[in-house]
């Protein structure tokens, strides 16, 4: 972790009360993380855009449900095509499930045809803890004013079975469609489901 990022995180820690996760309706806290290509990504740089934060662990069966049939990639493609910034975040710690070096990440993301704006590596879990990310997947939607407008599950089917995708109520697409249409998000918060984040 470089000095700049460390400073950024320390500033964040100073700004947010300890243990308080951002509530829906409040400002989404800023963060700085490296992406798998070595670039430094700062949330605030996307100000004015609708942003999705997607917590992931490619080895978690709940995540696999959304990636193996291409559903997650399709969402990433569709919404980045509509001007949404989609940040995929891995908070797996070194030695835990879902932790890979940047080279392996690049190969896997290419093989999966991942279409998010960037894949960020949160190896010390600081950003995961900052947002209170509990499971993979755990989804957050931030509007163009930087306000957190959705947090929770990707959909309403807490299952690893791909067959459940078809009839699921997709909370994230509902939130994104509402935000992009300038409407209020009908279901702004749900309980996330999945594997625990491997901090």
């Amino acid at each position: 972790m470089n000095k700049l990022m460390l400073t950024g995180l320390m500033m964040l820690a100073g700004l947010s009360a300890i243990g308080a996760e951002p509530a829906v309706g409040n400002a989404a806290p800023d963060f700085v993380l490296p992406d798998i290509n070595g670039a430094t990504i700062r949330l605030a740089d996307f100000k004015g855009k609708t942003i999705v934060l997607e917590w992931t662990n490619y080895e978690c069966p709940f995540v696999k449900k959304h990636y193996d049939g291409g559903n997650m990639q399709e969402l990433q493609k569709t919404y980045t095509g509509k001007g949404v910034t989609w940040l995929t975040i891995s908070s797996s710690a070194d030695g835990k499930q879902g932790f890979f070096d940047a080279e392996t990440w690049k190969k896997m993301a290419a093989a999966k045809k991942a279409a998010s704006t960037a894949i960020l590596l949160d190896r010390d879990g600081a950003v995961g803890h900052l947002y209170g990310a509990k499971t993979t997947p755990h989804m957050f939607v931030i509007d163009d004013k930087g306000i957190l407008v959705y947090k929770g599950a990707i959909d309403d089917k807490a299952s690893v079975e791909a067959a459940t995708l078809k009839d699921a109520k997709h909370y994230v697409t509902l939130a994104l469609d509402a935000v992009l249409a300038g409407k209020a998000v009908e279901t702004p918060e749900t309980a996330p489901y999945g594997c625990s984040v491997k901090y």
């Binding site: 069966p61 835990k96 499971t135 299952s159 079975e161 625990s196």
Partner: protein, 287 residues
């Protein structure tokens, strides 16, 4: 001393403790009888054996995980009761709480064959999908089949699985009308009032825990216990402000073992309507 253990040795211990996912669990479909009889109820069960270090889940998995998904195919004319979930363990992870089973779990379903059995055997099958987790989670799938001979009304023929069924039945939540519960909706959550029967040791309620049947509604980890004149009250917050309370509070009150009960697992089912707090309303609506 700790520092002097070579890394290699620690690794060996780790690998020895956690079985690989491929062999970490196995499921079988079993019955408590050798032969089924016309119109006479018996029990079928899905038995899941888990290697050390792995667990699978209750009907509400908690903050992560997945309940077992059992798709039953019963011969025509059979009727079946609900799936019975044994009392789960509370598994605390770093920032999550889950409910499940280690070692072995038997999910029982009572089945009543038709009054007239046709053919020599009846074939029962279950398409089972369940999730096992240690540090990582691995989905498991199996198609389980059990063929049982059809009897003609002879006396019962208990199977070798009888003891497994009996010990699991002792671990099922036991509805006890001597216990009384009331659930009251409060600002941001609810309060469960518990009136235990006379003779319940005073300290057991202090160590009790409520676990809800429905996931994602109540933040049970932050339950606040309070002694009342006649029992206990457990105050629970909603998991998030916009979570909708259901019409009924359903779940289990997990109780610590009492001395005479060597089984160790006790749970009283809770299933009561969630009522509005009348005193608060009266205050709000008052002059």
């Amino acid at each position: 001393m700790k520092k002097s253990i070579p890394t290699g040795m620690v690794l060996v211990f780790l690998f020895a403790a956690i079985a690989p996912a491929e062999t970490a669990s196995r499921a079988s479909l079993i019955a408590d009888v050798e032969t089924i009889q016309p119109g006479r109820p018996f029990s079928l069960g899905v038995l899941i054996n888990l290697e050390k270090g792995w667990h699978t889940y209750w009907i509400n998995p908690g903050d992560s995980g997945m309940p077992p998904d059992l798709d039953w195919q019963l011969p025509g004319g059979c009727t079946a009761g609900p799936l019975q979930y044994p009392i789960p363990q509370v598994i605390d992870e770093e920032s999550l709480q889950t409910y499940g089973y280690t070692s072995q779990v038997l999910f029982i379903r009572k089945v009543t064959p038709p009054a007239i059995l046709t053919g020599t055997t009846s074939v029962f099958s279950v398409k089972a999908a369940w999730l096992i987790c240690s540090d990582a989670c691995v989905p498991q799938r199996a198609e389980l089949t059990l063929a049982l001979p059809n009897g003609a009304g002879e006396s019962d023929t208990p199977s070798r699985w009888g003891p497994a069924f009996n010990s699991t039945r002792r671990e099922l939540p036991f509805a006890d009308p001597a216990w009384s519960f009331q659930a009251t909706a409060r600002e941001g959550g609810l309060t469960l009032s518990i009136l235990p029967p006379a003779g319940e040791p005073a300290d057991t309620l202090a160590r009790s825990r409520f676990i809800p049947m429905e996931s994602g509604v109540l933040a049970v980890r932050s339950t606040e216990r309070q002694r009342t004149a006649a029992g206990y009250s457990l105050a629970m917050k909603k998991q998030f402000p916009t979570a909708r309370l259901p019409d009924r509070l359903q779940g289990l009150l997990l109780l610590p073992p009492v001395a005479e009960n060597d089984n160790g697992k006790r749970a009283i089912p809770v299933d009561v309507p969630i009522v509005e707090d009348i005193t608060t309303q009266a205050k709000e609506n008052g002059p």
